[in-house]
């Protein structure tokens, strides 16, 4: 399986490249939109919510702290949401190819991961740029970022692919997930701080894997603290479990899959 993917490495790279190219092919600003879109979104949240929440951001006096906090959370969330949403419809969207050409199916999620990573990298660079621009010093904890991104990606892929396989047979899954993801976003402390929640709700939040990831991003980017190892290991284990499940599910269903696509 891995060997087949290795043979197709050039295809995967060119598919990622095509994916990015087509997205902005006919727009004037091209790849700049990759950064502009999430930045604009963060700017909206910052504008609306900073007045309300900035005062409650303890420990940091900078008035821009909230913006960094928001961007750090968005960094984790946007990677997660993009990969989950694209994996959900990955087989349905590529049904044409799956019905006509034999190629390692493994390429599809890899292409999605690759193009999501590139998007995320742009946003990361922009975030770090803003961080430095407003007069902060880089910290050693930034070195945690590749690990955090990898775990977030793995979790999103695992969850997305399990649901993606189910979605081939029950198309309602994708529809439901659109709503679920929105709810999930608000259940994760991206725009607010977990500490504003009352005690029991705060305890429950620890069960949310994305809480672990989002806070880890915030800790390393904003506060300069190392993330909670315990939380990370938990999410990593969950991701491995989900990835294993998705692989098993895909293997078992692949004979039926093309029939119903």
């Amino acid at each position: 399986m891995l060997l087949a993917v290795w043979r197709y490495r050039h295809f995967i790279l060119s598919a990622i490249w095509n994916d990015l190219r087509t997205r902005f092919n006919r727009s004037r600003l091209g790849a700049i939109w990759l950064i502009l879109q999430p930045l604009a979104q963060s700017a909206i949240y910052a504008l609306i919510l900073s007045r309300v929440l900035a005062a409650r951001l303890p420990g940091i006096n900078s008035q821009y702290a909230y913006v960094i906090y928001l961007l750090a959370g968005m960094l984790a969330w946007s990677l997660f949401a993009e990969v989950v949403m694209r994996c959900l419809t990955i087989f349905v969207d590529n049904s044409n190819l799956m019905k006509k050409i034999v190629f390692p199916r493994m390429c599809l999620p890899l292409v999605v991961s690759g193009s999501a990573l590139v998007n995320n990298l742009f946003l990361l660079v922009a975030t770090l740029g803003i961080y430095l621009l407003i007069g902060n010093e880089p910290t050693w904890t930034w070195l945690w970022l590749p690990v955090l991104i990898a775990i977030t990606l793995a979790f999103a892929l695992g969850l997305g692919l399990v649901l993606g396989v189910l979605n081939v047979f029950i198309r309602d899954v994708a529809q439901v997930m659109v709503v679920v993801l929105q709810l999930w976003f608000w259940l994760t402390p991206v725009v607010y701080m977990a500490s504003v929640l009352p005690g029991p709700a705060h305890a429950l939040m620890h069960l949310n894997p994305m809480y672990q990831m989002v806070t880890a991003f915030q800790e390393t980017l904003l506060w300069g603290h190392p993330p909670s190892i315990k939380g990370l290991i938990g999410v990593a284990m969950l991701s491995v479990l989900l990835l294993g499940m998705s692989l098993l599910l895909f293997r078992r269903s692949s004979a039926d899959m093309v029939d119903v696509l």
Binding site: H10, K99, I101, D259
Partner: protein
């Protein structure tokens, strides 16, 4: 005999519907669930194809041809039985798949070729050939959305056939595109064949099958009905279409060793048929251009509202050379009584090239044999055309030439 490139054993494919999708999901994990409905598209199919063979697959719509091709390509998984292929398969199933309209021809070629498993180096190496074969000039570096469908087809065909595959699967794609390119692509397919590629062709075009294939397979409602020389299978297939009108199909071995197919409901039959020369002697060998008469005696067994007689001269590959019927010549016979004998005398010059030919006859009620087919008789008569007194020529038609040679400069004639 070389080893089989493709071996299909007890192949079957069923599409299953479940009342609830979770029942299907349980079935993946070994909990057997009875599906709500099970539809076998293909079952008990066995055949082998050897290296370098060209096999045509024919059958009516829904006979399972496309499913068979998809199983061979590997996009569909068999429900039972197995498909074994030795070597690389390329499939021209539906051209232009996976093309992204916003990318240029070159970028799309890179993508599709990668999808087919070619490495970056192979693609770069093949790129000039692909560009040259497609012959679309500067459009190659323009977005695909600006292409005509013919141009897309050209690029797609060029990519799929960039590297000679061990097995090439062609599904109805031969007739697509302009005449020039379709000739060019046929030439490439032939070239592959000569180099040892095995061909698997699905087509409704019997001429294409007979011209390209040395074997044909007839599928009917999911099972393999006939496997043999293309001419024989195509005759049987034609008879089968006609036989849908509850008539019989009968295949006998002709004296020449070829199979003769007779079908029809039998209200009228050809009792005798003969070819006669200008002095009314029956002939089997005819000179090119000789005036001959075809005499056919038809016996009527049951009353018929209208009788049309048709005949067709076919070459040794079974391809039509000439054919017409009395519907087109406005000579139908109305209200025929049982017991009547009708004689048809057809005079024509034998303006066809040297070779062996056969005549098929049809007794029908309109211009096709699909409405009422009283009798359809393949290989009703065989004859040979020889070139006794004309200058040497090749081809199946005798088109008498008058060649004038004018020397403008001094030359020796």
């Amino acid at each position: 005999m070389s080893a089989p490139v493709l071996k299909i054993e007890k192949l079957g494919k069923a599409f299953r519907e479940y009342g609830m999708e979770w029942q299907r999901m349980l079935s993946w994990f070994g909990f057997t669930q009875a599906p709500a409905s099970e539809h076998w598209v293909l079952r008990h199919v066995n055949f082998e194809v050897r290296a370098g063979e060209a096999v045509g697959i024919v059958g009516q719509n829904g006979a399972g041809k496309s499913t068979l091709l998809k199983l061979v390509t590997g996009t569909l998984r068999p429900t039972e039985g197995s498909v074994r292929v030795a070597g690389r398969i390329a499939a021209i199933l539906e051209l232009g798949m996976g093309f992204n309209p916003d990318l240029t021809g070159r970028q799309n070629v890179r993508y599709s070729a990668g999808l087919m498993g070619m490495s970056a180096a192979q693609i770069e190496q093949a790129m000039p050939c692909i560009e040259e074969f497609a012959e679309i000039g500067d459009y190659f570096d323009q977005p695909i959305r600006t292409y005509s469908s013919g141009m897309q087809m050209r690029v797609a065909f060029s990519v799929v056939t960039a590297i000679r595959p061990e097995v090439l699967i062609v599904d109805e794609a031969l007739s697509v595109g302009d005449a020039y390119f379709s000739h060019k692509s046929m030439a490439r397919i032939r070239e592959f064949r000569e180099q040892g590629t095995t061909l698997l062709i699905v087509s409704h075009d019997s001429t294409a099958i007979q011209a390209l294939c040395d074997r044909a397979i007839l599928l009917d409602s999911g099972s393999l009905l006939k496997d043999g020389p293309p001419e024989e299978v195509m005759d049987y297939y034609n008879a089968l279409i006609a036989a849908k009108e509850n008539a019989s199909v009968q295949v006998t071995r002709h004296d020449s060793g070829r199979a003769q197919t007779i079908s029809g409901s039998g209200e009228a039959v050809v009792e005798s048929i003969g070819l006669f020369n200008s002095v009314d002697q029956p002939v089997e060998f005819v000179n090119v251009g000789e005036q001959v008469r075809l005499r056919v005696r038809v016996g009527v067994r049951e009353p018929i509202a209208r009788l049309v007689f048709g005949y067709m001269i076919k070459d040794r590959l079974g391809q039509p050379v000439f054919g017409t019927n009395t519907f087109h010549t406005r000579q139908t016979v109305e209200k025929v009584e049982a017991g009547q004998i009708i004689e048809y005398i057809i005079a024509f010059p034998m303006n066809i090239g040297p070779g062996s030919y056969s005549i098929s006859t049809a007794l029908v009620s309109s211009d096709t044999h699909l409405v009422d087919n009283y009798e359809w008789r393949d290989l009703a008569l065989m004859f040979t055309v020889a070139n006794a007194d004309r200058d040497y020529f090749v081809g199946i038609a005798w088109v008498p030439p008058a060649i004038e040679v004018h020397c403008k400069e001094r030359c020796v004639q």
